[in-house]
Symmetry: C2
Subunit: 239 residues, 2 copies
DNA sequence: CCCTTTTATAGTCAGTACGACTATAAAAGG
DNA sequence: CCTTTTATAGTCGTACTGACTATAAAAGGG
């Protein structure tokens, strides 16, 4: 890193791209914007924008998160840097290096209410055709990362409202992983992990529809899962 | 990402920084360069450099890896993107966004043999005082990441020569984690994981010094570890 | 109002994995 | 020859997990 002046260094534009997930009707949704101009006009793209001169990528990402979701307070939301995408041809107009982030929301208020008219929309995951730029790749990487972190962290509660049932928490896992889990075993595991969830003391209950009311829980203070909660082995057919 | 021309976007310099690890005499070593000029003159720093206009960060990182280690072929080495550091004040001279990488080498040829005189040196981990810029943070993050990946991947063999004993592999784990492992249990776990290591058929053996000769193994084809090989629980004192 | 359906919760049981430990084998050093 | 050192084999009890059965408490339909 010596001798900056000895090297010719081209200027790069630095942006952030956000893969923002939420759960709606037990289906994974992603926040997307429709592009109005070339390149990729008419295609869906991940929300994002330029990092300003006085911002870190994290600051820019949280600012974009607030702008695109229309939420007034995004300070408590889970936002995590994924990785940086820097292939020379990824934006045909100029040399853009993009720091990608993943964000998780509990509920899904319709997005484009913001005064700045960020016309972002919640789109069911997988239904938005090929995205602009390399955003399909970014989105897939984000989904992989979130799924992997579910195994050894308590991240799943970031999709849940402040109070939730164990059935809802299990739904979160099943939706993100795309698998089904055994309900008694899931209960046992979650309750056996200290700090994952804590029972709402008022023995409060919630009626979602048919069956017996379920006890309510809040997210606990733990962040890691020891031992991990592994998804069902996908070694069903080994080669 | 619409409307590039509506935003004022300052140019950024984009660099890569490398945390290159190797094992020497059962001690973790890091490749560092001594800074010759301000800022941080005389301090150690991670090797790195600017991303060229026609390069991705990954390409730049592998090029720097070859330059700084002096190795002619770095194509087989493990090189992995860590994350991007973009705090506005991290370089006092200019706005620099740095994509950090971690690399693992089996053996440690003394580095600065390269014709380009990259004067990088192998320094025992933890002995190089405070590093320049935010490189202490980057190095710590890299070490954390490598240690964490040891739990659920076969990455540890990246530190080993083509043929190695189980004792040497255990040394790798113990050095990176800073803990001691039970030898029989470690054997059982490694050998029970299909594809982690494969025995060298010639019943070959190696004498390191005193005791009974050990069987030789090669790295297998597996990359993941299911179930993971967790390090001894550091919950010795819970709060 | 009873009976079925649905969901929540409790509990059982066997197989696996793992930590702690003991025992044997094969080399080097004195 | 005996001790030390390292490699390898095996044992035992516990914790965790997958698969499963059973009971409780609600809604809905006849």
């Amino acid at each position: 890193m010596d001798g900056y002046d000895k090297y010719a260094h081209e200027p790069f534009a630095v942006t952030v791209d956000l893969a923002v997930f939420t759960l709606r009707d037990a289906a994974l949704h992603v926040l997307l914007v429709e592009r109005g101009q070339e390149p990729y006009a008419g295609r869906w793209a991940l929300p994002g924008g330029f990092v300003q001169p006085d911002e870190s990528a994290e600051t820019a990402a949280r600012r974009e998160l607030a702008e695109e979701t229309g939420l007034s307070d995004v300070s408590g939301l889970h936002l995590e840097q994924l990785r940086t995408y820097s292939e020379p041809g990824r934006d045909p107009r100029m040399r853009v290096v993009s720091v990608a982030f993943a964000a998780l929301l509990p509920d899904a208020p319709e997005a484009h209410g913001g005064s700045d008219a960020a016309d972002a929309r919640w789109v069911p995951h997988g239904t938005a055709g090929p995205l602009a730029f390399d955003h399909d790749r970014i989105l897939a990487d984000a989904h992989d990362r979130v799924g992997a972190k579910f195994e050894y962290t308590c991240l799943a509660t970031a999709f849940c409202p402040p109070e939730f049932t164990l059935g809802e928490l299990q739904q979160v896992y099943e939706t993100v992983w795309g698998t089904e889990l055994d309900r008694p075993n899931f209960r046992r595991k979650v309750l056996a992990t200290p700090g994952f969830v804590e029972a709402v003391p008022g023995a409060a209950r919630l009626t979602g529809g048919r069956g017996k009311p379920a006890a309510l829980y809040r997210a606990g203070t733990a962040t890691a899962l020891h031992p991990p909660l592994l998804r069902p082995t996908r070694e069903g057919r080994p080669a």
